[in-house]
């Protein structure tokens, strides 16, 4: 039988524990707010400066020495094309590597070393990738200062992110699905293509988007491989021009990207250019958000189809 005194002691312990709960939840909210508020302040500040500058002309004009006529046409087209090359090369490579490591690779020390290295690769400063790409893609393979070189550089940069995300997504699939598939006599490839890939695609997609969102804002490696600052023309569209361009000619075209355009504008003496930079920054953040939004939507659709 509990004495009232014991009861009071227990209640005191519970209150103390609850106080810690409250304390930690406040601390958590505070930590969250540091990030969210900083972003909000920066974003709102940029929006206030930049949004009035946004107009159709801003998207359809080339850069110019006159701030009010300058636009981001070559920059946003460049960014879209570079991202396209990045996605087309990094996603197949990253997913294949992740699937191999999870499903095929023998568990031995070589695999361990590879795994450690992949995690380390994610932490390498992006400028190092830029220098590597300058030697490898630009000079050795002779791709030049082109959309292709830039896309492949950023692909290298985000490859570790995609590999790690793929592996995490695969590990989240219940072991019973694996074993069920093998028990029915399926080969590893059949298991992977019929079960592993469809079920993990939502998680893989998240990793891809995180990687792409990082790549879209990168400046250092792109400057290293020689992206341009003033470029008042677009890569020739396939089968247009005279003589007609080939289907893939655009990948060898010189280019610029959004962050470089912004960087150049912020270093100009005229104040009007920093308004342009804010507007370009707003568009860039919006592009990233749109990409994330698309990913969330696709993930939702994919999840709906999975029934375990």
């Amino acid at each position: 039988m509990l004495k009232p005194a014991d009861l009071a002691a227990i209640r005191a312990i519970i209150t103390r524990a609850k106080r810690w709960d409250l304390f930690f939840s406040l601390l958590g909210i505070l930590s969250l707010m540091v990030g969210v508020l900083t972003f909000t302040v920066l974003f709102v500040d940029m929006a206030i400066q930049g949004v009035p500058r946004l107009s159709m002309d801003f998207f359809t004009s080339f850069p110019s020495r006159r701030a009010e006529h300058a636009g981001i046409l070559s920059a946003w087209v460049g960014t879209v094309l570079v991202m396209l090359v990045t996605a087309l090369s990094a996603v197949p490579l990253g997913v294949a590597a992740g699937v191999y490591l999870e499903e095929y690779a023998p568990k031995n020390w070589i695999t361990d070393i590879i795994e450690i290295n992949i995690s380390n690769l994610a932490g390498i400063p992006s400028i190092v990738y830029g220098l590597l790409a300058l030697g490898l893609f630009v000079y050795y393979f002779g791709f030049g200062q082109s959309v292709l070189s830039a896309g492949l550089t950023l692909a290298l940069l985000i490859l570790p992110v995609i590999i790690v995300a793929t592996r995490e997504a695969i590990r989240a699939i219940p072991q019973s699905i694996h074993e069920g598939s093998y028990a029915c006599g399926a080969t590893t490839w059949q298991t992977v293509s019929d079960h592993i890939l469809p079920y993990s695609s939502a998680g893989i997609l998240t990793g891809v988007i995180i990687g792409m969102a990082r790549a879209i804002g990168e400046t250092a490696p792109i400057i290293t491989i020689g992206a341009l600052t003033f470029i008042a023309f677009l890569p020739t569209a396939p089968f247009s021009g005279d003589p007609p361009a080939g289907l893939f000619d655009w990948i060898f075209a010189p280019f610029t990207v959004m962050p470089i355009q912004m960087f150049n504008w912020t270093s100009r003496p005229e104040a009007a250019f920093s308004i342009n930079a804010a507007a370009a920054g707003f568009v860039l953040v919006f592009m990233t958000l749109a990409m994330n939004g698309l990913a969330i939507y696709v993930r939702y659709r994919l999840r709906k189809n999975i029934k375990w």
């Binding site: 850069p63 600052t229 008042a232 080939g246 289907l247 990948i251 010189p254 270093s267 003496p269």
Partner: protein, 328 residues
């Protein structure tokens, strides 16, 4: 079968690229020269109605020469003359070039508008502030001149990678890159503008365009020229040759090989004809009309080499430069 098809596509991609060539002029180099070259490139492309493409990068004067001497660019923007090492690189690769001055930049020394005791400075006073020996010793304004107040001296200047820093140290301290290290350095001139405008005891230097855009926040210091006259930095003073020794010519280097391309010739001629007007528009100082004509003449005669011989020089007249026999 499938792999054959892929191979065919890949082959056609490369073949098409080789065959496909639209007139393209590649320019890279100094970010100081960039605004002028950008303005010229913009108007040139408009005048040609898009039949010629021009690209301009900002790898810096040194980075620009590296690409130039590898034969990757047609024209290199430079905020200082080509150096010995770069001349050797170019010679090794068989790249000859024509050196053309295109405008002046006036390095402007600024203080905070609340600073009432500084209106003019001599080179000797600037040297006392900036020379390597000043490091850790000249920390207050009164250390430079006892008549000045006992207030901390806060110095702002561009980083050691910039041509502006090279020229200022050459002109003031007598040796390129020789300077005290304990000052606030930034590659972004807007940071220097902010720094000087917020600190009553600050002194800084950068290109004229940055001062001109921020006149309300900064006070330009008159510089006493070798003739003993204190001169306010302005486009007119530089054109009259009075703003010495801080006015410096900026250059473009045109590859002799690229001069065989008609579009490059046309572009450079356009640059030397319209460059003066456009330079003024982006707050740089144009050369005299006779100098542009002389430069055009040197260009059409294909006078290759540099008038400097790989050494930095301060206070040379552009008209004299253009008369020199360039060395390779």
């Amino acid at each position: 079968m499938k792999s054959l098809k892929i191979a065919a596509v890949v082959a056609s991609v490369f073949a098409a690229t080789a065959a496909y060539a639209q007139a393209l002029i590649k320019i890279d180099g100094s970010s100081t020269v960039f605004p002028v070259t950008e303005a010229v490139a913009e108007d040139f492309q408009k005048a040609k109605k898009g039949s010629v493409r021009v690209t301009v990068g900002i790898s810096g004067t040194g980075g620009g020469f590296k690409k130039f001497c590898r034969g990757e660019t047609d024209i290199s923007d430079a905020s200082r003359p080509i150096l010995k090492k770069e001349m050797e690189d170019c010679a090794k690769a068989g790249i000859k070039y024509v050196e053309l001055p295109v405008a002046f930049d006036a390095l402007t020394v600024v203080v905070n508008p609340k600073n009432s005791f500084i209106n003019q400075l001599t080179v000797a006073e600037l040297k006392k502030m900036w020379e390597p020996a000043a490091q850790g010793k000249i920390l207050k304004w009164k250390d430079v001149n006892p008549a000045w107040p006992d207030a901390p001296l806060k110095l702002f200047g561009p980083g050691a990678d910039s041509g502006t820093f090279d020229y200022f140290t050459e002109a003031i301290n007598g040796k390129s890159k020789s300077s005290r290290g304990d000052f606030t350095a930034s590659e972004d001139d807007n940071v220097l503008v902010q720094g000087v405008s917020r600190d009553n005891n600050a002194l800084g230097f950068f290109g004229f365009a940055y001062y001109d855009e921020n006149k309300g926040k900064l006070k330009a210091v008159q510089i006493v020229n070798p003739k003993g006259k204190a001169v306010t930095p302005s486009i007119d003073a530089v054109m009259a040759g009075e703003y010495e020794p801080l006015a410096r010519p900026i250059f473009i280097y045109v590859s002799a090989k690229s001069m065989d391309k008609p579009e490059v010739r046309e572009f450079v001629e356009f640059y030397l004809k319209e460059g003066g007007k456009l330079a003024k528009e982006v707050k740089y100082v144009p050369l005299g009309a006779a100098d542009y004509k002389h430069a055009l003449d040197n260009f059409s005669k294909k006078k290759t080499g540099t008038a400097f011989g790989g050494e930095a020089e301060v206070g040379v007249k552009v008209s004299d430069l253009l008369k020199r026999n360039p060395k390779e």
